[in-house]
Symmetry: C2
């Protein structure tokens, strides 16, 4: 899927880490929510409420998922899941364009 | 307006200046196109094809419009027009969230 049709896009961006991570909140036709975001190179820690499904549209990074010491490399076209109510860490190597879906 | 409803948003971001300027392309219900973007602090030069209407959702910057030497300060809630087929320059002081409309 290259675009989301019949969607509602919040005009105001979500801005984190002094603008090094930013995203747009989109409500899809079925009522579900995704964010389309950009991460600049750097190391970040995020916390989830709902479980999340992260799709990497472009970029290179590695992820340390909750409860796991190893860092896993992730690149364009790949994805990973993060459980809800958890923290995860990212080391972003190149500008990364992502789509995050929030799972019920 | 705080959101665009019934719109189509391209999944892939537009990425410029090594990620310091990024945007999302949105086609509105009436077929017109806007981009929602983020600019990190820095100095940039852009070129227009169609005339553009730039709305600053948040942030502080100054703009040098085509053919004008003076820099004009622009901040959250303000906007400016840029003629088509022209270059303009921006000095972005704080992370800036913008909406750019392309005028026919």
């Amino acid at each position: 899927m290259t675009a989301f049709a019949n969607a509602t896009i919040k005009k105001q961006a979500n801005i984190y880490f002094d603008g090094k991570v930013t995203s747009r909140t989109i409500t899809l036709n079925d009522g579900s929510v995704v964010t389309l975001g950009i991460m600049l190179p750097g190391e970040y820690e995020f916390g989830t409420e709902k479980p999340e499904f992260m799709e990497i549209t472009s970029g290179e990074l590695s992820v340390q998922l909750p409860g796991i010491d190893d860092w896993v490399a992730v690149t364009s076209g790949q994805s990973f899941n993060v459980p809800g109510e958890a923290k995860f860490r990212l080391k972003v190597s190149t500008v990364t364009d992502y789509c995050c879906s929030y799972l019920d």
